[in-house]
């Protein structure tokens, strides 16, 4: 399989084919096994966080530094020239002279795509408002593949805020590359939007809909949880009445199979009780840590250092 990702920008999940995704996963596994060493030595990566995000930023920084690269940039728009009224295009054109690749997060949707219009350097979108955050999806898939090797035929539960969660929408599209069956678990008010079920119908991906994970937990290979925000409900009483169905605690664990892995994009609030962390099915910290080799491999491929 020959896959060329050199000089590509990764702005959206639709920028990557299944072949490319699988290629990235393979290389990320090798990176994690230590095959490439300090392959980013002599490279400078810009990390432009117009919108703050500590976790994503730290993960990228760790990825670059652990592979021997240098990283420059800013952690919030307040410390960038945007505050002085500079256009995004100008910021990107300027920064392009200082580095080999740009990682950026911005609260404006489409900002990363705009950035890729004005520079020849590869751009990695680390989040643009409610739109896309593709590397989160890559590390999610990587984590699943690490546990199951092949996703075909697996049953995957997606739980929580299925209406607004960017993470869920993006993961759903990536999972649709594989022969999985999806289980949507959410309160009615936060159900998966029709445009996604229409999409799944079009490509013949099977799915089921539940209001409580306890009804389908035993069938699942993975249960991917997201936070349900109180603010999404008009009526706080309604929130209180449904929230319990989406919280995993020790008791909730008994409704899952012995091998149902529990994932979460973090940060969590109370949707997974701390007591669950000790369970061998809880893999969300492992999942977060996988962000490092996955981002390393992606940077290596886009720079053409990893072939």
């Amino acid at each position: 399989m020959s896959v060329k990702m050199k000089n590509k920008s990764i702005i959206s999940l639709k920028d990557i084919s299944k072949d490319e995704l699988m290629y990235l996963m393979k290389r990320a596994k090798e990176v994690k096994e230590g095959k490439y060493g300090n392959f980013l030595e002599g490279k400078i990566i810009s990390s432009l966080f117009f919108e703050p995000s500590t976790r994503t930023r730290l993960s990228f920084h760790s990825a670059v530094k652990r592979a021997g690269g240098d990283i420059i940039g800013f952690a919030s728009a307040g410390s960038s020239s945007t505050k002085k009224g500079e256009s995004l295009g100008d910021t990107i054109k300027t920064v392009s002279g200082y580095c080999d690749l740009i990682v950026m997060r911005h609260h404006v949707e489409g900002a990363a795509r705009r950035a890729s219009d004005v520079t020849d350097l590869p751009i990695i979108n680390a989040g643009d408002g409610a739109n896309q955050h593709p590397t989160q999806t890559f590390l999610d898939i990587f984590t699943m593949l690490e546990k199951k090797e092949n996703l075909d035929g697996l049953n995957i539960g997606l739980m929580g805020d299925l209406k607004y969660s960017r993470t869920i929408h993006s993961l759903l599209v990536a999972l649709s590359f594989f022969g999985v069956r999806l289980y949507f678990i959410s309160p009615e008010a936060l159900a998966i939007p029709e445009r996604y079920t229409d999409y799944l119908d079009d490509i013949n991906v099977e799915y089921e809909v539940y209001k409580d994970f306890k009804e389908c937990g035993k069938d699942l290979d993975f249960l991917y949880c997201t936070r349900i925000q109180k603010e999404r409900f008009y009526d706080p009483v309604e929130y209180e009445s449904v929230a319990g169905s989406y919280i995993i605690d020790k008791e909730g664990l008994s409704y899952l199979d012995e091998e149902t892995y529990i994932m979460h994009p973090l940060p969590r609030v109370d949707e997974i009780a701390v007591e669950v962390d000790e369970d061998q099915r809880a893999i969300y910290f492992e999942q977060a840590h996988n962000g490092v080799p996955v981002r390393q491999a992606l940077i290596g491929l886009l720079l053409g250092i990893i072939k």
């Binding site: 256009s87 404006v108 949707e109 489409g110 795509r113 705009r114 408002g129 409610a130 445009r195």
Partner: protein, 157 residues
Amino acid sequence: MGKKKERPYKVFKIEKGTVIDHIPAPKGLLVLEVLGKKNDGIVSIGLNFDSQKVGKKDLIKFENKIIDKEETDKIALIAPEATINIIENGEVVEKRSIDVPQEITGFLNCLNPNCVVNRENLQPHFEVVEEGPVKLRCKYCERVWEVKYDMVENKRK
């Protein structure tokens, strides 16, 4: 119930120009908005005619104006069902075929206020992701829109 009888109607007959017929009502005004009302002849518009083809239809005649490819594309996005006839010397000289274009830049604006197009005053750019009714995906924020009156740029100026 028998077939609805089509009432005969007369809108200004033109010697030269463009007749856009079978625009599903009420899209006529939107088509007019998109093409612009400026013309060096009469522009006549008829709304809500009975039509066996599309139920209720609108119709626009531009005297002296022969619409170009770009304008044809604009009509294709809004009313792919429409028919376009080019008239010279009172006769139809061309039945313009309508093809929905794959991409469109310019005249339609993204309705997402948090889209970079609106934040940075960029040229909007859409890909057509579905035909009939046409759905457009903003190249930037990736939201998918059905073409609406609010998206037409002329209106905002």
